[in-house]
Amino acid sequence: MKKLLSLAALALLAACEPSAPPPDAYHPSKIDLKSPPAKVTAERHSGAFAEGSALSMGAELKKLDPSPVKTVRLDTTHKVIEIAPGVKFSAWTFGDQVPGPTVRARVGDRIKFVMTNRSDEPAPMPQVVAAPMMHSMDFHAAMVSPQDKYRSIAPGQTIEFEFTANYPGVFMYHCGTPMILEHIASGMYGAVIVEPRGGYPTKADREYIVIQSEFYAKPTKQKVDGAPLYVLDGERLRAAQPTHTVFNGRHNGMVTSPLAARPGERVRMFVLNVGPSKTSSFHVVGTIFDRVWIEGNPDNQLRGMQTVLLGSSNSAIVEYLIPEEGSYIMVDHHFANASQGAIGLVSTEAKPPAKDLEHHNMPASATPTDPDAVAGKLAFESKCLACHSVGGGRKLGPDIAGVTKRRDAAWLTRWLKEPEKMLQTDAAAKAMLKEYNNIPMPNQSLSDAEIKQYLKYFEWIDKQPAGAVKAQGGH
């Protein structure tokens, strides 16, 4: 009897003991830090600028390549890219595109990386690309000695190194050569997605990557296809005053080419804010993030989020349902950033993007070349398309096509400057208010310089052949 009581007491004690903690996925015994010294040679690669089955070139992500070894080549180049209609920017790249291709791997995978500095290769327009210079690669997904693996290499040199992906996440990569700020702001960045060893805990119907970044561009007297060449504006860069804040390298790029999804589908979006100097408050209008995995690691889970705040080089995976037919607007909810181009659409009306389409090589629509008109176009597309179209007919307000033929510059200037005063004193303004259901034009607090830019854009529109310029917003 005494024995029985003792056993019962032992059993009770055992039941009261806390259960053993789950095994630590990041225990040092599971972390692979083996990485042979980097090799630098004078062997110049002359094939494709980006190679590897783990690479995705655009927003739509390829499925994980099951191979445990990922061989990745990302060569550096200097080229001119179009960051906004008519804004041809002298960029520095990984894999000849901005952002660089996305690398996709899984925890435990070995990444074998090779990069040739090809910034000295002849470009189609040698006079407008930056002079060759040293570059390097800094993978935030790696745990290695920066002095060995991330060393800068000269034009014509090749560096090779390898590492194991130990933590799941969405990690930035970038050039780490001084001045790092200039190298990142010139386009040298991209993402590495590392999936958990056992995959994600949910099943998604669509997977996209969205990389937010800033450009600091100023026009020069040099021309590219008749348009001014834009170069890095060092003063704005150091003051953290971008001219463009964009998703996937292009102002309003995913408005003109929305990402596809169907009602009821679950979208998994890998979001990385590259910066280099601004935060992002990422939001998708009309949805709630069912899950947010901060830094792209499901161990860092939040539920039911409206936005996710990302500092420079922060990331998250957000998952949400598409509730019904419509266009769901991705924005940086710091609206000053959104107004500079950090806008995109996930739309049930969109066709899936063409595979591996290099976004900045997409054919451009007719666009002005005068810097004032370009600035006016960008401002108009950011602030005015909700109520006005260009060549698409009337919306809440008049169609802008033909406006400079209907009104003179002085009238338009006064209208843009003080619409509320015009509505009290000007007969034409009063008639227009009545015609448009008494919805007044809001005062946008535009400066004289901004009004001049709008007018330059409107004048440019009206000089184009009828129907050649079209712009319509969706929100």
Binding site: A42, R44, D120, A131, P132, M133, M134, S136, P146, Q147, R151, S152, I153, A154, P155, G156, Q157, G176, T177, P178, I180
Partner: protein, 130 residues
């Protein structure tokens, strides 16, 4: 012996500098592709130095980086990264002689130069043999 230890310590510290201060980053600060292309085409070499000792101005380094065997207009200076590079004609002056000559000019400013890498052919940043 003490000098050897000092040199070894300096080399170690150069390797261990934080982001932006490893040897290649210092070289990147004064790397000028046009200077290098022109120099190598003429059979000249380009050497990259770490500027050691007391802080010296750009003007002092500019003034020092001239003389026998140094290619005119080839000096590139980064005061922030403490780096100086010059192209020189190895037929007129050896790297050791060049280093010593520049050190003599900088001695009164309590500064000296440590050769980090030399470029004798394209895409080859060779370590300097001591």
């Amino acid at each position: 012996m003490r000098a050897a230890v000092t040199v070894a310590g300096l080399l170690l510290s150069l390797q261990a500098f934080a982001c932006g201060y490893c040897v290649e980053d210092k070289i990147a600060a004064t790397y000028d592709h046009a200077v290098i292309t022109r120099a190598l085409a003429s059979g000249h070499h380009v050497v990259f130095f770490h500027v050691d000792g007391a802080p010296v101005s750009r003007a002092v380094l500019e003034q020092a980086a001239s003389g026998r065997g140094i290619e005119k207009g080839s000096a590139r200076i980064s005061p922030d990264m403490l780096t100086l590079s010059v192209a020189f004609d190895p037929r007129r002056i050896s790297l050791v002689e060049l280093n010593a000559a520049l050190d003599r000019k900088l001695a009164k400013h309590k500064a000296s130069l440590l050769a980090l890498r030399v470029m004798e052919r394209p895409a080859d940043l060779a370590a300097v043999k001591r």
